[in-house]
């Protein structure tokens, strides 16, 4: 009780009232087009007195006689207007070219003046996301934001996107930033992705977001901004603000239609000199063609040669065009219709959107429907409410099979003989319906088998919504409460049809996922000025997150009626499995910011998180379930503090320090449990049930949250009448007490146990330079360059452990590791044994010797990356392009490795013409001194090379023309004559057009062709889809 009194006293003492001679002023705020602007902040300078405009753009405010009014609005330039005795002030606001003024939305929707922000952030306007589209909106952020490292893996158009902010800080898992939509953390998990043995990527939370609904995206890069989101924000925060209803006369209707067509560009370069066969001989019979599918045959000579189905075909290379011909044109249509409007008391926006995508692989489709409704109402002067509901449905048919999945057509092409045209596989069954196989390797199906015969469909339905109520108790004190839900059901139906060569009886798998996340938060905000110069802004609140997941799976095998796709048609049915996971986080937080004379801002915040997942139910007292973190940031606007030369329009310095933590482990991790077999064993005397210890992870009974401490400094400048803008940030962050599975020897019975250990450092710089060389009435030219560099270092792991295996490549000749002193994600693989002169040592068998110890051969994470955007506008015409680059990363190519193994690698031709099918490898013999003279069989020789990873690691650096667009905006005046069209923009766009440089040019792969977005096996390419370019048009009409 005493404490509570203290609190009230404290709050009251902060806000003593002050009084001067007052005057009432009113007016309307509009944009250049004359549209009224609602929710513009109108503030009396040097006080905290202020209001916002209503839905008609009108405001009323009682101010000091000599006051200066500041008008602030997101995306607009601030306006300062002295009262000068007037009682009516109407203002027209200008768009802000550099968006350095105005406000930035931070945690829980708290708006903060940009100049007060002591941390680095970047913004992307929604309009930048709707012109040239990708199916996953995150993929469109590539190259646009300094410090946002984005890769769209080769996982199909609707697959997930890898987003890394300021480097990898966790050893495993997603390392993703927290996605916050309208102030509420949104589920962005990727429940289904490829591993080394195959799989499909069923997208992430962001793949469901409709870009037409996005007002803008703010990326909070630093720790102090993220501290308020607590444990989930350890990897940064991406805030998405969606469009809301606006007040206007009559109904506002906006329609946009976008069509993009996609075509294959880069295809693997394979050798086209030698065909299928063995021992340098081509097949002489159908049987031999079936057995000897590897490309160790004779030089292609065009002679008629038997192939697997008994036909005689010319023994000549079908070429890359044949491969290109296998892939079809992909098309994506997106149509969005949005309505908005309302009166003073209430407004709303409704949007409907449909996206329909046809992939580059036969029978691969993806459809997405979005419905978004948001409304807010002013119930009284002091109370307003807001609610939103968003429904998304994604229907995917035959998402692309990845990596080792035999149904992945690219896997076939990785090992395909040069002399087989794809068209020969179009028929997958003979007249009797019996499957046609092309080789004796059941794990490599023909390229048509997967797309034509097998089925994988999934449907994802997501409801995301919130209800919010805000009560302005006093002019300076507001309380807000909010309830939000994010509920997803994702149902999968997968079929391996009967006759599939590696599973002839066939099987059906049904998996249903249901995820519900509820967020409840309440916050109190107080904004007061203490005196003319000092202002205080305090927010405190509490938040609860409840998460539950339910997973149910069932499967069956052995089709009774061939080809009838129902689980009820399976002779053998596995009993279903259902499991549920529950967790709860509670958090409390407070943040206060103090301003002095509008040029110095100090902010501090503190948050404590409590995690149910860290509670050991058998030892509650031993659990450490909470972590407290704090941050502070300082912003000093030099240009407002002192008089600077004219050419400096704006200058700001900022510094921030903060801690954050991570305690988000899987529920129930502390206690060993048993599982009872779902599948009772049928014994002659009756069923017997089995039981066994569940899981390979030894349960650590007590775990603590990990902790990240970070620090950043930065500066923002605008020069020469804002023609030049500059942002620069340096940061350093250390994460320690990681929670990660430390490996255990198998002889313990377990493979790992969760521990708190290890330390990782990330440091780097981010820079943004913008320049507007030309700005005339009709012509303008803007150019902006961003750059980021991050240096990652694993300082320590667990005691006695120098290396942590994060993932394996399919050939098991390399792994992805975190090694003490190295970087997370290092590629650690086989190398040649060499003598001191660097010559390759060969063994008694004439084969190159693999060195005993593996070496670090690279890391996928780039040394630096950035983008260059340039826009030329002439009258109504605007041309812009985006070039982006990543430099200094490496990729491990399994396609390359398999190329050597099966004889299609572009570099696997040397020595092939030798009469006895042998080669003498270049280098020295077993003694390490005398030249190697021992011949080795050609296939053995290249098989050995396939497992020497240094031959299969490539530079993943690139420079790419990411986007080019040309758009024409019709004159408003002209359109007004039509009486109903208010705005019309037509654009022609292209994405991923071409590479200026590509480190994988030689073998014809895309440097972004990794197969997963997670840290675990980052940097491995395996039978990737060919990369594509897309182009199309976009029409946007406003009525």
């Amino acid at each position: 009780m005493l404490m509570k009194n203290h609190l009230i006293l404290f709050l009251l003492s902060c806000f003593s009232l002050t009084g001067y001679a007052q005057i009432a002023v009113e007016g309307t705020v509009t944009d250049k087009a004359g549209e009224p602007l609602a929710f513009v902040t109108v503030a009396e300078e040097e006080t905290t007195n202020g209001t916002t405009t209503d839905l008609d753009g009108r405001y009323k405010l009682t101010v000091d006689e000599g006051a200066i009014l500041r008008f602030t609005y997101v995306g607009m330039q601030d306006q300062l207007v002295p009262l000068e005795g007037r009682k009516q002030i109407d203002v027209v606001m200008d768009e802000d070219a550099y968006q350095l003024d105005g406000v930035v939305v931070t945690a829980f929707g708290i708006e903060k003046e940009k100049k007060a922000a002591g941390f680095a952030f970047s913004e992307v306007n929604g309009s930048e996301l709707t012109e040239a589209r990708e199916v996953n909106v995150a993929a469109q952020l590539v190259g646009k934001v300094p410090g946002l490292d984005i890769t769209k893996p080769s996982n199909g158009p609707s697959g997930s996107t890898r987003i890394v902010i300021r480097g990898l800080s966790q050893f495993q898992g997603e390392n993703r930033p927290l996605i916050v939509i309208d102030g509420i953390p949104a589920d962005n998990s990727n429940i289904n992705r490829a591993g080394l043995y195959g799989g499909r990527d069923s997208g992430d939370g962001l793949s469901a977001v409709n870009p037409d609904d996005i007002e803008n995206i703010t990326v909070l890069l630093g720790p102090s901004a993220a501290a308020l989101y607590g444990s989930r924000a350890g990897n940064g925060v991406i805030l998405i603000t969606t469009k809301k209803g606006t007040v206007r006369k009559g109904l506002g209707v906006e329609y946009s239609s976008n069509f993009v067509t996609e075509e294959v560009t880069i295809l693997p370069n394979f050798q086209e000199e030698y065909g299928q066969g063995a021992n340098g001989q081509k097949p002489t019979s159908q049987q031999e063609a079936f057995d000897n599918w590897r490309s160790w045959g004779a030089r292609l000579d065009g002679s008629m040669t038997p192939v697997f189905n008994g036909e005689m075909l010319p023994y000549s290379a079908v070429g890359q065009d044949d491969l290109r011909d296998f892939y079809q044109r992909g098309n994506t249509w997106t149509n969005t219709l949005a309505f908005n409007g309302g009166n003073e008391k209430m407004n709303a926006r409704l949007s409907l959107s449909a996206l329909s995508n046809e992939g580059i692989i036969l029978n691969s489709r993806y459809d997405r429907y979005n419905l978004n409704f948001v409304s807010r109402a002013q119930l009284t002067d002091r109370v307003d409410v807001e609610a939103k509901v968003n429904y998304t449905q994604e229907d995917a048919e035959n998402r692309v099979n990845l990596t080792d999945n035999p149904s992945n057509p690219s896997k076939y092409f990785t090992i395909a003989p040069a002399n087989l045209p794809h068209s020969i596989f179009r028929r997958t069954r003979n007249e009797l319906g019996n499957p046609i196989y092309w080789s004796n390797n059941p794990f490599t199906l023909s390229p048509y088998w997967g797309p034509v015969e097998n089925v994988n469909n999934d449907t994802k339905r997501r409801v995301l919504g919130y209800a919010l109520a805000r009560w302005r108790i006093l002019d300076w004190l507001t309380i807000q409460g909010r309830v939000a839900t994010d509920e997803t059901t994702h149902d999968f139906f997968n079929v391996e049809i009967d006759g599939t060569q590696h599973n002839i009886p066939g099987a059906i798998f049904i998996d249903d996922f249901n995820t519900v996340e509820r967020n409840y938060d309440v916050l109190i905000r107080a904004t007061r000025s203490i005196n003319a110069k000092i202002g205080l802004d305090v927010t405190a609140g509490a938040v609860r997150t409840d998460r539950s997941e339910r997973i149910s799976s069932t499967s069956g095998s052995d089709f009774i009626n061939p080809g009838f796709l129902s689980i009820n048609n399976m002779a053998i049915r596995n009993p279903g499995q259902v499991s549920t996971l529950q967790s709860r986080n509670n958090g409390i937080f407070a943040t206060a910011s103090l301003s002095y004379d509008n040029y110095l801002y100090l902010e501090g915040s503190v948050r404590t998180d409590f995690f149910s997942v860290l509670t050991n139910p058998l030892d509650v007292d031993g659990s450490t379930t909470s972590i407290t973190y704090a941050s502070s940031a300082l912003s000093f606007v030099l240009s407002d503090a002192v008089e600077l030369p004219d050419w400096i329009s704006y200058a700001k310095f900022r510094a921030g320090y903060g801690t954050s933590g991570f305690g988000q482990i899987d529920p129930y991790s502390q206690v060993q449990v048993y599982q009872v077999s779902p599948d009772p064993k049928e014994m002659p005397e009756g069923n017997v049930t089995f039981g066994n210890i569940d899981g390979d992870s030894f349960r650590n009974p007590s775990l603590k949250p990990s902790q990240t401490r970070s620090f950043e400094i930065g500066t923002d400048w605008r020069l020469f009448k804002s023609k030049v803008g500059l942002q620069l940030t340096y940061y350093q962050q250390r994460t320690d007490r990681h929670i990660f599975p430390s490996p255990l020897p198998a002889s313990t019975g377990f493979s790992s146990y969760l521990i708190n250990a290890g330390e990782v450092e990330n440091k780097g710089i981010e820079a943004l330079v913008s320049y507007q060389p030309i700005q005339t009435t009709h012509f303008s030219w803007e150019v902006s360059v961003n750059f980021a560099r991050n240096v990652n270092k694993v300082i320590s792991l667990n005691e006695g452990i120098d290396q942590l295996n994060l993932g394996d490549d399919r050939t098991f000749s390399a792994n992805i590791v975190a090694q003490k002193g190295g970087r997370i994600g290092d590629i650690w693989g086989n190398v040649y044994a060499r003598n001191d002169a660097g010559q390759i040592i060969h063994g008694d068998d004439g084969l190159p010797v693999i060195a005993e110890d593996r070496e670090i051969l690279g890391n996928f994470n780039p040394n630096w990356y950035g983008g260059l955007t340039s826009t030329f506008s002439y009258k109504n015409l605007s041309l812009s392009f985006l070039i982006d680059t990543k430099q200094g990363g490496e990729i491990l190519s399994t396609t390359s490795s398999f190329g050597y193994l099966f004889g299609r690698h572009i570099n696997s031709v040397e020595g092939r013409d030798s009469p006895d099918f042998t080669i003498i490898g270049d280098g020295v013999g077993p003694d390490g001194v005398t030249p190697n003279t021992t011949p080795a069989r050609i296939d053995d020789y290249y098989e050995r090379i396939s497992s020497i990873s240094e031959e299969n690691v490539y530079d993943a650096s690139y420079i790419k023309l990411r986007q080019l667009s040309l758009s024409y905006t019709f004159d408003r005046e002209l359109l007004r004559k039509t009486k109903f069209i208010e705005g019309l923009t037509i654009s022609v766009v292209g994405r991923n057009l071409f590479f200026f440089t590509n480190g994988l040019d030689e073998i014809g792969l895309d440097p972004e062709a990794i197969y997963t977005a997670t840290a675990d096996d980052i940097g491995i390419e395996y039978a990737a889809l060919p990369s594509t370019r897309s182009y199309g048009f976009n029409i946007n009409v406003k009525f």
Binding site: R294, R584, T748
Partner: protein, 496 residues
Amino acid sequence: MQNMKGKYIWSFILICCLSCTKDFEEINTNPNRPTEIDPRLQFSYVQNRASSERSDQWRGNLIYCSIWAQQLSGSWETDRYITANEDWLSAWWNNSYQRVGKDLIDLINRTEEGSNLRAMATIFKVFFFQRLTDMYGDVPYSEANRGAEFLQPKFDRQSEIYNSFIEELTQSVADLDAAKDEVGSADLFYNGDIDQWKKFGNSVLLRIAMRISNVDPDRAQTVGKQALDGGVMTSNNDIAYVYFSGNNVDGPNANGVSEVFQDNGITAHLFRYSDEFVNFIINNDDPREEILMETYNNDGTIDNTVGAGNHLGRPNGIDPGTNDFVFAQPRRDVMVTYDAPAIYLSFAEVSFLKAEAIVKGWVEGDAQQAYEEGIYAACKQLSLYPNAGEISDADIADYLEENEVEFDLDDAIEQINTQKWIALLFDGFEAYANYRRSGYPEITPGFASGESGGEIPRRLRYPVAEKVNNAQSYDEAVGRLNGGDVITARMWWDVN
């Protein structure tokens, strides 16, 4: 001052919030899995798991042992004495500790000392870990599978592991008592029959005695005599095997070895009978030929041009690109059906052990009779396989008169162990170990080079994960190996 106030306020709020964590205990209690189960459920699990998992059988049993014992042959790197594939190398090791061993030790620890369940589980543990140590040599045993107690278990010397085996078996057989707890149908071998478990325990002991017969002949004799006096298996009714219903082919209801042959498609180049194996069968007009083998076309149909007596075995070590469809395979409708039994220890093997014990003079008896009983039992036990029918006594009698089969005391050791080799089809573990111990059958290495330099390998390399995560214990164990962690180093008992 302000700062102090801030701290007070925060502390106050934190205190208020402690109440908000009171549900955490309940929320974080696993609703899907129990923290306690009846240990008998684990006993059934380990008995079954030792043979039901496809990938473990594929790798540990077939790729290494059956191929090196030259019962089978195939286009695997191991057939050319290469052991580069780490995933395969570690499969049986991982299965032994992380699957079977983990629950076996856990259930023993949770069972009352002296109880029947504990005795049976201990006998099974010895049976099971003998396979492991016989593949690698020194392995973690006394400290293995003990959770937090030993996060880096030491590798015990094989000789000490064998000492422990003998002690544990002796004690467990003595502990078994029909008046104590009933294990019942949770025991997949014998439905909890105490007498049969005693026989099984003594039979395992006899196998162990024979294994050490070269390195420690005196002890071998003592232990072997103890086992035989205590009572070993007496008929095919005593065979320790796991039954599979064959329903549900991916789970525990199917034989793991059969899954390898069935699941991967008829067109796969997987395994063929080795020519050594086929030749011995054919040369002696073995009545088992028809049940054991068939030659298949690449579409899965039977190659009718090949009949009894004409089957070809695949020579070990030949070029992997060779067309394998000319070579004989296990009959798909008999030997590798999903519901084929997994035989852990057979009366036939016990008879051969007994015959050898008599020849070695450990006990009195008629070696020829034991030998012929073994052959008879080996032929008759094929009736456990679906669709196999039964080999007639007359056919077996004819077979016993075949040149290489007819008992000859001078060649008895070779004859006994060659017959054992045939009887141990699909138990590559024992066939390979017995070959290394006895030197029989006489087989010629199929490949002239490889890691073993053209010799039949003597062991498997340790998994790399053990080298990385259990470095000190690993290094000590490797230090005791002749030539380091290579496939030519020998077992402690492999001194022949």
